[in-house]
Symmetry: C2
Subunit: 137 residues, 2 copies
Amino acid sequence: MTPDLSLVPIGFVRSPLVDRGEASRQGDEGAPECTIELDPAYASAAADLTVDEVVLVLTWLHEADRAARLVRPRGDADRPLTGVFSTRSPDRPNPIGLHRVQITGIDGNRLRVRDLEAIDGTPVLDIKPVLGDVDER
Amino acid sequence: MTPDLSLVPIGFVRSPLVDRGEASRQGDEGAPECTIELDPAYASAAADLTVDEVVLVLTWLHEADRAARLVRPRGDADRPLTGVFSTRSPDRPNPIGLHRVQITGIDGNRLRVRDLEAIDGTPVLDIKPVLGDVDER
């Protein structure tokens, strides 16, 4: 019994970053502001998001190497090979990116966000509120 | 150009919880200890995980209602209908669960974990380290 595990993009990242090599390693290390363009089919699901809110965004890191099992953290040749589940490398069996971002503007189905390190065209999978007691403790 | 967004289970939750109604709303509200049984194909990816470590576990909430756009948070009839992207409801377009858990034991391909509120048989998608400066800030 293999369950059906297929995702649907709820939107896409629109960013000046077009090349994986340009993306900063984590969002707070210099990602430019970018836009999440939501599919209008999900407008009601997004209707309670607010400007200034900090949310978790899940993305599909579509250029990832899904066969990777061991990587050097942050691509640093001086670091030892490490199991991908102990790293935040995009190269992993299910390349789901987890980003903590701040919403800086909302214009219809477009969310302007800060600190999202993802290249242009990256599929967006989900937006979740931060739970202080669960995520920040 | 629709990208292929299909997930592979890296393992499954083995838990005494068998019914969604029994699962606590968040992991720190009384989830029993349970086990993540990893597919041996991912043994090297998991080889650097350690006992006592706190990690993020992503799951596929296989009993979710993917058509949901508005829910009452925590199933509370007294709360207003809220867009799912402003809630942690399992009912959402891509039912990916995000759990912050502590590893309490490792026995071959079995990880014993605390605070994982997921029912028996839940597919596991990913394990990520907590980044203090990104996730906890």
